[in-house]
C-alpha cells in the first residue's frame, strides 16, 4: 500500500467506527442519510454502504432535498446510483412554495399565499415582510426549501439519527464539531441526533479517497466546479480544471454566500439597528 492509500484507509476506518457506533445505538428504521449528490454526502453514503455490506445490515433510507434550482447532471447522477445501489431515496420538495412562486425562479412570493406550515416557519425566523423573491440561496428561500423540508422529513419518518456529510475544514466555525451532535427539540424542529462520519476528512484527502477507491462522483467536478449548491449560485472555480487538481489549500471552497449577509442583516434589524 502506498502512503496515500494508507492515509485514506485510516480515515475511512475512523468513519466506519462512527457509523458502526451509530448502528449500535439505533435501529436501521430510525436512521436516515442525507445526500445532495455532492462529493461530501457522497463519500458519507459510500462509507455507510461499505459498513452495511460488511456487516450484513440493510442500508438506512436516504433523503435528498430538491431545491428546485438543480443541476440536471446532479439529478441524473443521483437517479443512476439510487437505482444501482437499490436505495430507498425520497426527494423532498417544498411544493407549496414552488406553487406560490408560479414555478418560476426569482418570482415574488406573497407570504399569505403560503400554507400554514410555511407561514409559521417564516415567523420563526423573524421574517415579517409580506413578500420575498423565490431564490434557493437567499436566507428566506434556503430556510423554506432546505431547513423546513429537512425538519418535516424527520417529523414524518420519526427519524432519531441522521447522517450528514460535513467536514470540519469547510468553515472555521466547525472546528469544534463532534461526530455526534444532539439537536434538542424546539418549535417546529423535532429532537434528533446528527451523525457526521467524515468530519476529519479535508477537501484534499476526500478527493484522494475518491481516486484510491474509485468512488463515483458527479461529472460537474471534472468540469471545474468545486462546490455544488443551487444551479444559479454555484460557479465554476476554474474552468476545465477538475476539482482535485485545483489549488485547494490556498483558495476558498465556497465563495462568501449571500445567505451570510442576509442572516447578519436580519439579526441587526431585529436588534433595532436598521
Amino acid at each position: 500500500m502506498t502512503d496515500k492509500e494508507k492515509e485514506c484507509a485510516e480515515l475511512i476506518e475512523k468513519s466506519k467506527e462512527v457509523v458502526r457506533e451509530t448502528f449500535k445505538k439505533f435501529k436501521v428504521e430510525d436512521l436516515a442519510i442525507t445526500w445532495t449528490g455532492g462529493k461530501d454526502s457522497g463519500l458519507g453514503l459510500w462509507i455507510i454502504r461499505q459498513v452495511c455490506q460488511e456487516d450484513g445490515i440493510k442500508i438506512p433510507k436516504v433523503m435528498t432535498i430538491d431545491e428546485f434550482d438543480v443541476f440536471q447532471e446532479v439529478h441524473d447522477f443521483m437517479e443512476k446510483y439510487a437505482k444501482e445501489w437499490n436505495l430507498d431515496l425520497e426527494w423532498c420538495r417544498n411544493d407549496d412554495l414552488i406553487k406560490a412562486a408560479g414555478g418560476k425562479l426569482n418570482a415574488t412570493v406573497k407570504v399569505k399565499d403560503l400554507n400554514e406550515r410555511n407561514q409559521s416557519e417564516l415567523k420563526r425566523i423573524g421574517f415579517e415582510e409580506e413578500t420575498f423573491p423565490f431564490e434557493a440561496e437567499s436566507y428566506t428561500g434556503n430556510h423554506l426549501m432546505k431547513t423546513v423540508m429537512f425538519n418535516m422529513y424527520i417529523e414524518r419518518h420519526n427519524v432519531k439519527g441522521i447522517f450528514q456529510g460535513l467536514r470540519r475544514d469547510e468553515q472555521a466555525a466547525r472546528v469544534q464539531d463532534e461526530y455526534f451532535e444532539e439537536k434538542e427539540a424546539a418549535h417546529l424542529i423535532p429532537g434528533h441526533l446528527r451523525i457526521k462520519p467524515i468530519l476529519h476528512f479535508t477537501e484534499r484527502l476526500l478527493w484522494n479517497t475518491y481516486q484510491v477507491y474509485k468512488i463515483p462522483y458527479c461529472i460537474l467536478y471534472e468540469q471545474g466546479y468545486r462546490s455544488l449548491g443551487a444551479k444559479t449560485t454555484s460557479a465554476i472555480a476554474e474552468a476545465g480544471v477538475p476539482a482535485w487538481e485545483q489549488d485547494l489549500e490556498h483558495t476558498t471552497e465556497r465563495a462568501g454566500r449571500r445567505q451570510d449577509k442576509e442572516q447578519m442583516m436580519g439579526r441587526l434589524r431585529k436588534l433595532g439597528y436598521m
Binding site: 420563526r124 466555525a173 462568501g256 433595532g272
Partner: protein
C-alpha cells in the same frame, strides 16, 4: 502570566457596577473580584455604539480612520493576528452580528465562533451568556484540560444586556420581584418606546431601566460561571482577565434612549478591570485611558514587542502610561442605511475636561466632568481651556477627505 482573557459585556454602563458606585448590588460577583483587580476609573470607549467602539477594542485604531466603514478594513491589525503569529492560541466566542466572520473579524483566530450558524430566537437574536459559556468551557476543556497546553488568548462577549430588554423570570426575581411585566409587554415596550426613542413617559423609562438592571444581574451570573470554569480546569491561577464593555446605554440623560451617536458619559464611560490572580491587593488608577489601549496591553502581557498598527498604549505598568488625552468618533447610524458620514461627531477628553464637536452643525460642547458630571452645563463658549482643546480635536475632523 500564561494566558489572557478579554471578557467584554455589551452595553454595560460603568455606573451599573458596585465597584463604580452603584448601590443596587447588580454585579456582586464582579464586585467581589476587586482585591485582585486594577480598576480604571476614567476609561473611555472610543465610540458610543458597537461599530464605533470595537475597532478600538480589538484593533487599537479609530472607527473612521479609513473613511466610510464597511467590514474590517484590511489595513487594521486585529489583536488575534500578532498573537497567532507568535504561536499563542487565539479563540473568540461571541454573538454580535457586527463582529461576524462575514465582515472579516475572523482573521487570525484559531477558533472563531460568531453564532451565525446557529438558530436564535426571532425576538432576541443572539446567543445567551450561558450558551457562550458552554462553548467556551468545551473548548477550554479540550485545549487545556489535560496537562500541558499552549498559552491562549480568549475573547468572549456577552450580549445579554443589549436591548430588547426581556429578562427571564428567574433574573427578575433576583433583582426586583415587583416587576410583573410579561415577555410580550417587554417586547411591546421595546418596539413602541425604545425603538422609537420616545422619552415622553417617565414611567416607561423607569421600567426600561429596571429591565436593563435585571440583565446586568444576569450578565454577572455568567461572569461568575465563567470564572468557575477557569477554576475547575485549574487555569485561573495562570490567567489574567480583562473585563470591560464596548459602550453604555442611555436612559434619557440627554433626551434619548439606547446607544446612538452621542458622546456623553452614559455611553462613553467604560468599566475597565484587569483581574490578576497573583495580586493580593486591589489597585485603582485614575489615568484617563481609551479602549484603544487594550490591544497593546494584551501584547505587553504576553511579553511581545509592541505592534506597529496599534494606536493605543499599554495600560501597564501604570506609572509608564503617558498622560495624554483620549479621542473618540462616530457617525449617525439611524438617518441612513450604512451610517451617515456627513453627520459625524467627535470627542476629546483630557483630565476631567471633555470637548465634543458635531461637524454637520458646527456645534461645540464642553464639560467639566468633575463639577458637572451629568454634562448639563456647556462651557464651550466660556472656558479658558476651550480653544486649546478645540485645536487638539480639529485635526481629526473628516481627516479621511484628502
Amino acid at each position: 502570566m500564561k494566558n489572557v482573557v478579554l471578557l467584554t459585556i455589551d452595553t454595560l454602563r460603568q455606573n451599573a457596577l458596585g465597584c463604580y458606585g452603584n448601590k443596587r448590588g447588580l454585579a456582586p460577583f464582579i464586585d467581589s473580584l476587586q482585591d485582585k483587580c486594577t480598576r480604571f476609573t476614567r476609561g473611555q470607549a472610543s465610540g458610543p455604539y458597537t461599530q464605533a467602539s470595537f475597532p478600538g477594542l480589538l484593533t487599537s485604531s479609530y472607527y473612521l480612520e479609513y473613511g466610510k466603514p464597511k467590514g474590517l478594513a484590511p489595513e487594521r491589525t486585529l489583536i488575534s493576528e500578532p498573537l497567532q503569529e507568535a504561536g499563542i492560541v487565539t479563540a473568540a466566542f461571541h454573538s454580535n452580528p457586527y463582529i461576524c466572520g462575514f465582515l472579516g473579524w475572523n482573521r487570525g483566530w484559531d477558533v472563531f465562533y460568531d453564532s451565525m450558524e446557529d438558530e436564535v430566537e426571532p425576538r432576541i437574536p443572539y446567543i445567551r451568556g450561558h450558551v457562550i459559556n458552554t462553548k467556551v468551557s468545551d473548548w477550554l476543556s479540550s485545549h487545556a484540560g489535560k496537562g500541558e497546553y499552549k498559552p491562549f488568548f480568549l475573547w468572549l462577549h456577552y450580549m445579554d444586556i443589549h436591548e430588547p430588554y426581556m429578562p427571564e423570570k428567574k433574573y427578575v426575581d433576583m433583582v426586583d420581584p415587583s416587576v410583573t411585566v410579561s415577555q410580550d409587554e417587554m417586547y411591546s415596550l421595546f418596539e413602541n418606546t425604545l425603538l422609537k426613542r420616545d422619552t415622553s413617559d417617565p414611567a416607561k423609562i423607569t421600567l426600561l431601566k429596571k429591565l436593563y438592571d435585571i440583565h446586568v444581574r444576569e450578565a454577572d451570573t455568567y461572569v461568575q460561571e465563567f470564572f468557575g470554569t477557569l477554576e475547575k480546569l485549574d487555569i485561573l491561577k495562570d490567567t489574567l482577565v480583562i473585563i470591560t464593555n464596548d459602550h453604555g446605554d442611555e436612559f434619557n440623560e440627554h433626551g434619548g434612549l439606547s446607544h446612538d451617536d452621542k458622546m456623553y458619559s452614559e455611553l462613553i464611560d467604560m468599566p475597565l478591570l484587569i483581574y490578576d490572580p497573583s495580586k493580593d491587593k486591589g489597585e485603582v488608577s485614575d489615568n484617563v485611558v481609551s479602549n484603544l489601549d487594550i490591544p497593546p496591553t494584551i501584547v505587553h502581557l504576553f511579553g511581545l514587542a509592541p505592534v506597529e498598527g496599534f494606536k493605543g498604549h499599554s495600560l501597564l505598568p501604570l506609572k509608564d502610561y503617558p498622560r495624554t488625552g483620549v479621542f473618540g468618533e462616530a457617525i449617525d447610524q439611524r438617518s441612513q442605511r450604512g451610517g451617515n458620514m456627513d453627520k459625524d461627531i467627535y470627542y476629546y477628553r483630557e483630565g476631567d475636561l471633555k470637548i465634543i464637536y458635531r461637524a454637520d452643525i458646527d456645534a461645540w460642547e464642553m464639560y467639566d466632568l468633575r463639577e458637572d458630571p451629568r454634562e448639563l452645563n456647556n462651557i464651550a463658549n466660556t472656558s479658558p481651556k476651550a480653544e486649546e482643546l478645540k485645536n487638539k480635536l480639529l485635526p481629526r475632523v473628516r481627516r479621511w477627505i484628502s
